[in-house]
């Protein structure tokens, strides 16, 4: 390859970096996903959500999706998994759900006369956990531990989860009856929180017209990227370049969330790491191999929103974490020169 570069360089006076960049983005993952789902109108007005989820997948993170029922949370996760050739499972959380229902358990096999492992739904690439706040704290903890460690222990035996592994947990912001809100420490485990809203009237009309076709299209989606290629993409994201000044910029943002007058609990160092990871992935999905301040700003809301706790008295006045993040971003100067 190097010989080829040198040859081309001598022949056309090309810069190596141009060729490297070309190779780097030859298989840009989001371009493929976008083409199949957004351009073909399988998912309508969900480009930003899809880009965030794809970026989270490339950052090896988990997603907390917040939205009222019926805003294509499941469709988004399912379509993404299918396109990327990844396994997909779904768990509907209920208060009586046990940790073993998720991670698996041993059962006695009469034929073999021994215990065999019955793997839970967690043994998949993309796990959609519907209404995570309906599960008991015990089950939530077991799930979140698996999310963090990327491994589960069943009857003393350690099982590594398959890579890539991503949990997309959904929660309904309206229902408060019979739910167990996730503790702050556990919320921190989610790389991003994506707030899914309603589509516009125009989008809604399109959905209504093509409801059956959309359902069929999702069912008939074929993988466009092989499983190994997804892993390769994840590896590439690690090499996205980020300037020293942007680390300082991110640090200033995170520190400012702690100093903010309306905040009771600001963003943690884990939040800063998450911001770096997501900024890199966002840059990558935007077909760049370097991070710019816009990438940081684009992912700051989803990364920091669920990690900030606003003072109760100000919360009553309508101050929300996303407003705090917005305020912080408007105050921190971007790197100069």
């Amino acid at each position: 390859m190097v010989i080829l570069f040198v040859f081309l360089d001598n022949l056309f006076s090309l810069d190596y970096s141009i060729i490297i960049v070309w190779c780097f983005f030859a298989m840009a993952i989001f371009d493929v996903v976008k083409k199949e789902l957004i351009d073909r109108e399988v998912l309508i007005e969900k480009e930003n959500e899809l880009k965030l989820v794809t970026s989270a997948l490339l950052s090896r993170g988990h997603v907390l999706m917040e939205g009222v029922p019926g805003v294509a949370k499941t469709y988004t996760s399912k379509a993404l998994a299918k396109l990327l050739g990844l396994s997909f499972k779904r768990v509907q959380m209920t208060p009586d759900l046990l940790p073993s229902d998720i991670i698996g358990y041993y059962v006695y096999d009469q034929r073999s006369g021994g215990f065999v492992l019955r793997k839970g739904p967690i043994f998949t690439n993309i796990l959609l956990v519907d209404e995570i706040n309906r599960a008991s704290p015990r089950t939530q903890s077991a799930l979140l531990e698996a999310m963090q460690e990327r491994q589960v222990t069943i009857e003393g035996e350690l099982y590594k989860l398959e890579e890539p592994f991503m949990v997309i947990a959904t929660q309904n912001p309206v229902e408060m009856e019979g739910v167990f809100p996730l503790p702050e420490a556990q919320l921190d485990r989610f790389l991003i929180k994506v707030v899914t809203g309603y589509t516009s009237t125009k989008g809604l009309v399109k959905i209504m017209k093509n409801a059956d076709e959309i359902e069929e299209a999702i069912e008939s989606l074929k993988p466009v990227i092989a499983h190994d290629e997804v892993l390769e993409e994840i590896r590439k994201v690690r090499y996205v370049r980020i300037d020293e000044s942007l680390y300082s910029y991110i640090a200033s943002i995170v520190e400012e969330t702690r100093r903010h007058a309306a905040v009771r609990l600001g963003a943690s160092p884990r939040a800063a790491i998450a911001l770096v990871k997501m900024a890199k992935a966002w840059a990558y999905t935007s077909s760049r191999d370097y991070v710019i301040p816009d990438d940081v700003k684009a992912v700051a809301q989803p990364v920091l929103m669920h990690r900030i706790i606003v003072k109760p008295e100000l919360e009553l006045q309508g101050v929300t974490p996303d407003k705090v993040v917005e305020d912080v971003l408007s105050r921190i100067p971007v790197p100069k020169p």
Binding site: S17, R241, R288, Y290, I292, P293, D294, P333, V334, P337
Partner: protein
């Protein structure tokens, strides 16, 4: 402003010395020169029209060539003749003497003891005396002669001749009407009508305050635009003079100078918390398509150079900056 008004209102009225303070006091000093031949022509015209009798015409014959002695001899009024002889015996005539004699003539005329021919002869004699003494009253005397002739014609015919109509009109009327048909110069009588318009006396303080108000209004209406225009020019010139931005990298300097140029052109300043793309999006709305494209290229190249570590993008920033600079120079 308050202090200025107080200072101004406390002052007494001032004016430039010698400059009239009102229209009323303004006299028309200039009297157009009248020749003696013009008077004689007028006499001849009146003789032709029959306004003057043969006897009177004979008395006035050779009017312009009359000597002092002849003029005095032809005067019928003895009192007047004696007065003139006394005046000639006096030797040097002062302006007061002339003025006094004219007043004397006027009083005689009013009392009816003076006929127009005697008056004309007396005026001719006075004119000769005044000329001998180089008195500035010569023109006035000649005009009085014309006035006498005019009166004579009015008395006899009841109508003004074309000549007198033209010569005795007010200066304002003369401007708008045709010149007289007689070959006489344009005349202006000493008793030119004065403007009776009396302007109210306006205190200077009021004038100054009104001036300030007018200036403020004009400044509000046009000042900002003009100031912005000049400010743009100055800013562009300052960039030309600017050697370095102390960044230490000429490519980065070129980008920041480009930001300075577009912010000057569009009056959209870059906010510190704003990213380069956010600023680009905001500023492009206020820029022309050519400059917007140019600045878009510069911003993209800057990002590649600054964050993407692409050395070749530096030259693109520099090229873009040069083009932008040329455009800025051309547009301001």
């Amino acid at each position: 402003m308050g202090m200025l008004i107080t200072a101004v209102s406390s002052e007494v009225d001032r004016h430039t010395p010698g400059f009239p303070q009102s229209v009323e006091s303004l006299q028309l000093p200039a009297i157009l020169p009248v020749n003696l031949s013009d008077v004689e022509k007028a006499i001849l015209e009146l003789s032709k029209q029959g306004v003057l009798s043969e006897e009177d015409a004979a008395k006035l014959k050779g009017f312009s060539n009359l000597s002092l002695q002849d003029a005095v001899t032809r005067i019928g009024n003895t009192e007047l003749r004696n007065s003139l002889l006394n005046l000639s015996n006096k030797g040097v005539l002062s302006p007061d003497d002339v003025e006094a004699f004219l007043n004397y003539l006027s009083s005689l005329k009013t009392s009816g003891a003076l006929n127009p021919v005697d008056e004309l002869l007396a005026l001719r004699a006075l004119e000769l005396l005044a000329k001998a003494n180089q008195s500035p009253y010569t023109s006035r005397i000649l005009l009085t002669m014309l006035s006498v002739l005019k009166d004579l014609e009015t008395q006899k015919s009841g109508n003004l001749t074309t000549f007198f109509k033209g010569s005795l009109q007010s200066p304002a009327e003369k401007v708008f009407q045709s010149f007289p048909t007689l070959p006489l110069p344009l005349l202006q009588l000493p008793t030119a009508p004065q403007l009776r318009l009396s302007l109210p006396k306006i205190p200077y303080s009021v004038l100054i305050i009104a001036g300030i108000c007018c200036f403020s209004t004009i400044a509000l209406l046009f000042g900002k635009r003009l100031a912005a225009h000049f400010s743009k020019k100055l800013n562009i010139r300052s960039i030309e003079r600017m050697q370095t931005l102390k960044v230490g990298d000429r490519f980065l300097e070129a980008y920041w100078l480009s930001v300075h140029i577009v912010s000057t052109i569009s009056s959209v300043k870059k906010v510190d918390s704003e990213t380069h793309r956010e600023y680009l999006a905001r500023v492009c709305q206020r820029l022309g398509p050519g400059v917007a494209d140019l600045f878009r290229d510069i911003t993209t190249a800057y990002e590649e150079y600054r964050y993407g570590f692409r050395a070749e993008a530096g030259q693109r920033i520099l090229n873009g900056f040069r083009k932008l600079m040329e455009h800025a120079r051309a547009s301001t």
